[in-house]
């Protein structure tokens, strides 16, 4: 590729809302109709969205791609209402339009020779379902572990590509406890062999941290999609930095990785979780 080719602008895309539906407990699913040439994308990649209200300056918000149906040009985002922008996003109705950039960042790629165990916490389950759909043919023996605080916060999963094992903290549905305890119970029952699995996870940073520590102690590969505060999503602000343990020979600069371009999917066992905001 010549440098002139690289100067072609990758313009922002216009997405038209097909539906914007409340799922449960402040979590919504937006279905967006993209231009015919949009994509392809990998689950775990993200889009930077210009959320309403439109202003001369406002940071765009990152959202994981939970699913992209190429044949229908439909992009699915699952998001929780936490502040002004996500609230305004939830008020949009079918036919309205959004500006976004993407797909961006590194998505989930399979660790070869390992049985995939997909772990979703809260709204983090959404990209895991998208991932399972992608892998159901090539890696049919996968499992989904889905953790939530309680039954009323569960997001309905229709036609799950892998068997779903559920854990709620209050025991109101499925296993009582967190996803790590669920994982250990499955190992104790010999339903999962830690020597043959790889973990792929999306959820609160707290969960990803605990899972990564567990995975490292068991020598299990563990890829996590983590969230930091993004200023740009495209590698130009240095705001999204995640501290990692440098390997031998790496300098101080390598201590921080940019989650937007070197992630958001990263090797959880190398992340210094104390330095990642919750």
């Amino acid at each position: 590729m010549s440098s002139t080719d690289r100067c072609l602008p990758k313009t922002p895309s216009i997405a038209r809302i097909v539906s914007n539906q409340h799922l449960s407990g402040g979590i919504y699913r937006a279905l967006l109709r993209m231009a015919d040439d949009w994509g392809p994308s990998l689950p775990g990649q993200f889009v930077q969205v210009e959320c309403p209200p439109r202003e001369a300056f406002a940071m765009w918000r990152p959202f994981s791609i939970s699913r992209f149906r190429a044949e229908r040009h439909e992009l699915e985002l699952v998001y929780g209402v936490v502040g002004l922008r996500t609230l305004r996003l939830s008020e949009l109705t079918a036919g309205e339009e959004l500006c976004l950039i993407g797909p961006l960042g590194r998505g989930f790629e399979a660790v070869s020779g390992r049985r995939p165990i997909l772990i979703g916490g809260g709204r983090g389950i959404a990209p895991m379902i998208g991932l399972a759909e992608r892998w159901r043919e090539s890696l049919p023996d996968g499992r989904i572990l889905y953790g939530a605080r309680s039954r009323d916060l569960l997001i309905p999963i229709d036609d799950p590509p892998y068997a779903v094992w559920l854990a709620t903290e209050d025991g109101s549905a499925g296993f009582k406890g967190n996803v790590i305890e669920l994982l250990e119970a499955a190992i104790a029952r010999r339903e999962i062999d830690p020597a043959t699995i790889a973990l792929y996870a999306c959820g609160p940073n707290r969960m990803l941290a605990a899972l990564s520590v567990w995975a490292e102690s068991r020598g299990v590969p563990c890829l996590v999609s983590l969230e930091t505060h993004f200023g740009c999503g495209v590698g130009i602000c240095a705001g999204c930095a995640v501290p990692v343990r440098p390997r031998d020979g790496e300098d101080a600069f390598a201590r921080y990785r940019f989650a937007c371009v070197e992630g958001p999917v990263m090797d959880g066992t190398r992340v210094e979780w104390e330095g990642v905001a919750e």
Binding site: F57, G231, A252, G275
Partner: protein
């Protein structure tokens, strides 16, 4: 009908001279807000830019500050990146060749804790070729040692410029901090120390508090405020610099449209830099270039020179 072309077709030369530095147009991207310049090539017409100012590079690689490093505020943001950078060695070996291949003027921003460190970085860059200028960051609010001292004290800022002047023939721009009682005095000190241009301004020291934990949102405490929120104050500071020196001034602070950039040019800035506004719209600086051209055509001005400094100063 006359043979004159309709105004929308008239070609206007946006080229501009800043002392020894010639730029194809007056719109650059600001240090630390465009990566090293090559990250955003897919997202904008890089070739349309008047120049790229790189992320500040220091002698040794730096890891930068803890997260969160950014916090959005009304029409702006507070940052505390802390000069995370690859260090001069890797910059010259890897980043610089990629940057120079982009075909736009490259201004390398340099930083340090001590005068000797600035000098060493400048010396290494002096050995390379193709750089349009050095921008000396004597104003970063986010590094504990050095930065603050340099920015608040005209004498130490001048010492840095003087020190760097001794080791390089490259054009030197001093990047001024607004966090000082008199930016005019600071500007003059840098002029006397041998600067060829003055970049005004860096970010404003700012604070945001988490009302639940009662702790600052940025772990290091204060950070630097940027974005449209600072534009009117930055403009006033840039004007003060223009009034106090004869050097070309590069205006920066909150520019998010061609109209914003025009304000800086009208008060006498010879060029401008787009910073934070590139974060949501990496293509914005290129649009500002187009917008300036359009404005000049509409106003019937044939050169940028007619516009620069056309401010009707009530004090004059």
């Amino acid at each position: 009908m006359s043979a004159e072309r309709p105004p929308e077709e008239r070609v206007i030369d946006l080229g501009v001279e800043l002392g020894p530095v010639r730029l194809p147009n007056p719109v650059l991207v600001a240090s630390g807000t465009f990566g090293y310049g090559n990250e955003a090539v897919d997202l904008t017409r890089v070739r349309a830019l008047g120049g790229i100012v790189t992320k500040t590079v220091t002698l040794e690689p730096r890891s930068g500050n803890a997260a969160p490093r950014l916090h959005e505020t009304p029409s702006g943001m507070i940052n505390s990146i802390g000069l995370q950078n690859v260090g001069i060695e890797r910059f010259i070996a890897v980043k610089l060749p990629e940057l120079l291949a982009l075909g736009v003027p490259i201004i390398v921003s340099i930083g340090g804790r001590r005068v000797e460190e600035f000098q060493e970085v400048a010396r290494r860059l002096e050995e390379t070729s193709g750089i349009a200028a050095l921008e000396i960051n004597v104003s970063c609010p986010n590094v504990k040692e050095g930065g603050l001292e340099f920015c608040q004290n005209p004498a130490s800022a001048a010492a840095v410029i003087e020190g760097v002047r001794q080791v390089t023939r490259l054009a030197l721009w001093a990047k001024l901090s607004p966090n000082t009682s008199s930016i005019g005095t600071l500007a003059r000190a840098c002029e006397e120390a041998g600067a060829d241009g003055l970049t005004a301004v860096n970010t404003f020291v700012a604070l945001a508090v988490d009302i639940h934990s009662r702790a600052p949102i940025i772990p290091s405490g204060t950070g630097g405020l940027s974005g449209p929120a600072i534009r009117p104050i930055a403009l006033a500071k840039a004007r003060e610099v223009v009034r106090h020196t004869k050097l070309p001034v590069i205006g920066v602070g909150g520019i998010a449209s061609a109209a914003d950039a025009l304000e800086f040019l009208i008060i006498g800035a010879r060029a401008v830099q787009v910073g934070t506004a590139s974060f949501p719209r990496p293509w914005l600086a290129a649009e500002v270039v187009d917008g300036i051209g359009r404005f000049l055509r509409e106003e019937g001005e044939t050169t940028l020179a007619e516009l620069i400094g056309s401010y009707r100063d009530p004090r004059a």
